[in-house]
């Protein structure tokens, strides 16, 4: 008798995609990947490039590790995970360098950061090692989106308030705010303000979602 097959987007699977966006967000709830959220959110463009590369690396690494989950000796599993991540990151970087050189120049700065991104190791260890490939893929996508939107939100405020631009386009100047006496807040460009911005996002999230508040 064959086991009943679970539909691709069952309620459980949808939850895998949706949870990391808010309730179980890797940055604001699990407090992972903070280092990169501080380092690269001065401008929107690198933040988006970083979010996309993490999306690719995380979902593929999750699938690869999930496929190998029954083969990996538990004593060297961390090393195996690291090798998988590092290989993927190098491959992505090499392909970009050969075919989309401009993007690769943006990305090359962050390669090291992707390898050290705790979210990726965290998801491989906590999820992919114990689940089937499709579920792991969804988990990877969900977490990468959860990470990505925080990154982009932080970068949006930092670039707008710190440099008065969005994607390098002088928004505030076009709105005529400088003539009204507005000045760029140089502090937003410095790393400490990224931490404060993330803090504010966490604060707002917990205000709206009381379940997250620890007793």
């Amino acid at each position: 008798m064959s086991e009943k097959k679970e539909p691709l987007f069952s309620k459980k699977n949808r939850k895998l995609l949706k949870d990391p966006l808010n309730d179980n967000n890797p940055v604001t709830t699990q407090v992972l990947g903070i280092c990169s959220a501080l380092a690269i959110t001065v401008q929107l463009k690198p933040a988006i490039v970083m979010a996309l590369s993490v999306l690719v690396v995380l979902s593929v690494a999750n699938v690869v590790v999930s496929l190998m989950r029954n083969l990996i000796p538990s004593r060297i599993r961390i090393i195996v995970q690291l090798v998988v991540i590092a290989t993927l990151v190098i491959l992505v970087d090499q392909v970009l360098k050969a075919f989309v050189y401009d993007v690769s120049k943006e990305l090359s700065v962050f390669v090291g950061l992707i390898i050290t991104n705790c979210i990726i190791m965290g998801r491989l260890e906590a999820f992919a090692l114990g689940n089937k490939p499709w579920k792991s893929f969804l988990d990877g996508l969900g977490n990468a989106f959860g990470y990505g939107w925080i990154l982009i939100a932080v970068a949006f405020f930092r670039e707008l308030l710190g440099a008065g631009t969005l994607f390098g386009y002088p928004v505030l100047e076009k709105l005529g705010l400088y003539e009204m006496g507005y000045e760029n807040n140089g502090m937003m460009i410095l790393p400490p303000m990224a931490l404060v911005t993330v803090g504010i996002i966490i604060w707002i999230q917990r205000m709206k979602n009381r379940d997250l508040i620890e007793s």
Binding site: A39, I40, P46, L71, P73, T87, V109, G186, I189
Partner: protein, 255 residues
Amino acid sequence: MDANKNSYTFSFAAVMVVLVATLLSVAAISLKPFQDKNVEAEKKQNILSTLGIEVSREDAAKVYKERITTSYVLNNKGEVVEGDAFTVDLGVELKKPVDQQVFPVFEGEKNGQKSYILPMRGKGLWGPIWGYLALQDDMSTVSGAVFDHKSETPGLGAEISLGWFQEPFIGKTIFDGTEFKSIKVVKGGAKEDDMHGVDGISGGTITSDGVSEMLDERLSKYLPFFNQKLSEMIEVEADTLLVDSLQALTLNTID
């Protein structure tokens, strides 16, 4: 098969290492020609943009041929020695003692104005920074500057590769009379009449200082070359003056 046995762990690791190494080397070797082509085209683009010529990566090779009239390498006494200026790797050169280094020069032309383009390389905050500085034929006035970096922070040090940072270099001079001054990146902004200073980057002080140091170190190595070019120019001027006065004299006598 027992996944907890030592032998299994060892063989798993060995197979994994071999597989990954093969995969990565195949990828690296097969992609290398494409990557090299990109790097070469970008170098040509950078050299051209110091002349104020912006071209797409595809056209770079063609326009480079038209505009860059000649290129050569110098030794530290300013004498031309054998070598290809385009393939000189400054990263390697900088590690050698000064008397063994070579110094590339590119000569380009735009609107009848000749420029000498000198490659630069130095240290930023996180890694190497490099670029090109174009000088007019008075060997002092900057006609263009391009900088790039490997790993400076976007929005901070990485701003050196953007136009707003590079454009103020144009028109600055590296000499004050006969005294070598180089060009400094000034924290907090350069004074308006400062001929040897440009504005720094807020939050990017170490990279800005890196640019100042790079310019000073590199340009000072070209001093013998500058002197030589200047004295050639003075001779030419003196010659033309002499010819003019001789002509005037002859005309006068004929009259």
